[in-house]
Amino acid sequence: MTDKQRDVLLSIQDLHVWFELRRFGFGHAGYVKAVDGVTFDLHFGETIAIVGESGCGKSSLMKTILGLNKPTKGKVIFENLDVGALSGEALRQYRAHIGYVQQDPFGALAPFMNVQQILEEPLLINGVKDAAERERRVRKVMEEVKLTPVDDFLHKFPHMLSGGQQQRVVIARAIILEPKLVVADEPVSMLDASVRVEILKLLRGLQEKYHMAVIYITHDLSTVRYFSERVFVMYAGNVVEKAPVNSIVHNPKHPYTAALMDATSDPDANNALTMRELPPGEPPSLVNPPPGCRFHPRCPKRIENLCEVEEPYDLQADDHLVSCWLYK
């Protein structure tokens, strides 16, 4: 591991992203606390996975990293740049360092542009004026994502491509500016099983080749181990567990992580013979989250008079940070 790799690329410090709710258009009616105190560092060339269910705040976190939301409190620092304070031209320049792979490839590609136009656009916006240079880079990136033979694909429109090929175009667009960080929001959830693995392997290959950092956002734990070094588990706006991937897969500490693991199926005919043990209820409202640990109303291991009173903080259990009183 080089020294460069140890340097922090992105630092999230006590980040809060709250959205104000209004009554009748102007009266204040509370906040949706989508991200509520998240802290972590991402190093150069590192891949992390953020795992959580819909509504846990993972997309709000991602959008804040991309500069689409402003932090309510706390900071997003990208290589000494305070992302929350950027605007205008500075924000545009910052975005060139970050690639974004959307969840739904068809929705993410303009239907009236062909592959060449789609891939040229980031170059045009970022001032690559020479058409020959643009075409050279488009061809190169298409080779990278294996949209080959390139000439067959250059003039195709998104609807003429399969789901896997569309996702390749999205990935190509994300990496054409050679970003330092790629944010991939459920990049394979819309794809078929056999294509899913292909796209994940492609992303991993590109990550290793270009030494990009990748934030992989997903709710599917089974793909995480093939892709990331560290896993962060989010629940109701908080990160409840941070650990290296093997540690989390073999030894989940937080009861919520354990529940997610238990609910994930591997193909096995015996699954049909047993009921799965699941935590009751649904994730809490982010307007009025439960006091203390946010998982306590659903937690099978709740400690009375503690979990519902005090908020757990990052407790160290081996190499593994858990926000759970069980590990005090």
Partner: protein, 319 residues
């Protein structure tokens, strides 16, 4: 046909007419299903599995080019029935459907209770009060609180809405429910919850399921039998235990190998290439050009071979 067979599909064909020609979405599908069993139709997108659901339930668009084959439901040949007879006595009475994205297709301006009661009123001609009592019973079976009868779809979470859609398919007490991707848009915990509900329903209401999905891992939660579909055809019909341990068809094997696993240290492998176009599929085996075991014979259409009770459409298993 054994007495226990609930549904038997033989050589079902559904081709759509398009400007470019005939799309052979369902092209010779066969499988059968016993009472209180669940069969999983496993296939990638575009293999024709949703068209198969529509073909079984005769929910057809207008651009039909060819629709043939035999469907026996408890011994009755439903393909021979006229449309009116089928509508009154089969669809939603003996067979019903939970369509894809059902949870997003509830009517936003009707109370969910009324929507669940509606099939009872239409098909069994009962009064609304009676139908609502039945709807309340179904809510209990699928685990939705009974006071949700008076709510609207937007007041319910995704998992709850999906349960309502399942309740709607069950309210007329059909013997068979076809589930088209029932959990594809849901979170992991909600998904597992829905499968718990389905497992319980299979026991409590003695209903059979045809589960149409591309998700191999979760399909094992419900499967008694598995039918693998590829490019409009069934390539393998197998018992779930044997299928998940050792599938026979090369495509099934590669499909199983492509599943990322949480509890095993295997590296998933993808299948190179793409399924053929259904406009003009290859003459021989449709998987041949992606198959690592292909040989000269594969240029001809493979027969369906019975290997110890497993039906597999592959030349490798002919003696």
């Amino acid at each position: 046909m054994s007495k226990d067979t609930l549904l038997r599909v033989e050589d079902l064909v559904l081709h759509f007419k398009t400007q470019k020609g005939s799309v052979r979405a369902v092209d010779g599908v066969f499988f059968d299903l016993a009472h209180k069993e669940a069969v999983v139709i496993l296939g990638e997108s575009g293999c024709g599995k949703s068209s198969l659901a529509k073909a079984i339930l005769r929910l057809l668009p207008r651009n039909i080019d060819k629709y043939s084959g035999k469907i026996y439901l408890e011994g009755d040949e439903t393909m021979a029935m006229d449309d009116e007879n089928y509508r009154q006595n089969v669809r939603w009475v003996r067979m019903s459907l939970v369509p894809q994205a059902a949870m997003n297709s509830l009517n936003p301006v009707l109370k969910v209770g009324d929507q669940v009661a509606e099939p009872m009123i239409i098909h069994h001609g009962v009064k609304k009060e009676e139908a609502l009592i039945q709807a309340a019973k179904m809510f209990q079976h699928v685990g939705v609180p009974v006071d949700f009868l008076d709510r609207y779809a937007f007041e319910l979470s995704g998992g709850m809405r999906q349960r309502v859609a399942i309740a709607m398919s069950l309210v007329t007490a059909p013997a068979l429910v076809i589930l088209d991707e029932p959990t594809s848009a849901l979170d992991v915990l909600t998904q597992a919850n829905i499968f718990n509900v389905l497992k319980r329903l299979k026991q409590e209401l003695e209903v059979s399921f045809v589960l149409i999905t591309h998700d191999i891992a979760t399909s094992s939660e419900l499967a008694d039998r598995v039918a693998v579909m590829y490019a409009g055809q069934i390539l393998e019909v197998s018992d779930a235990h044997r299928f998940f341990n050792e599938p026979l068809h090369p495509y099934s094997r590669m499909l199983m190998a492509s599943v990322p696993r949480l509890r095993a240290n295997t590296e998933p492998e993808f299948i190179t290439g793409q399924p053929p176009s259904l406009l003009d599929p290859p003459k021989g085996c449709r998987f041949a050009d992606r198959c690592p075991k292909r040989f000269a014979k594969c240029a001809e259409e493979p027969p369906v071979v019975n290997v110890d009770g497993i039906q597999v459409k592959c030349w490798l298993y002919t003696s």
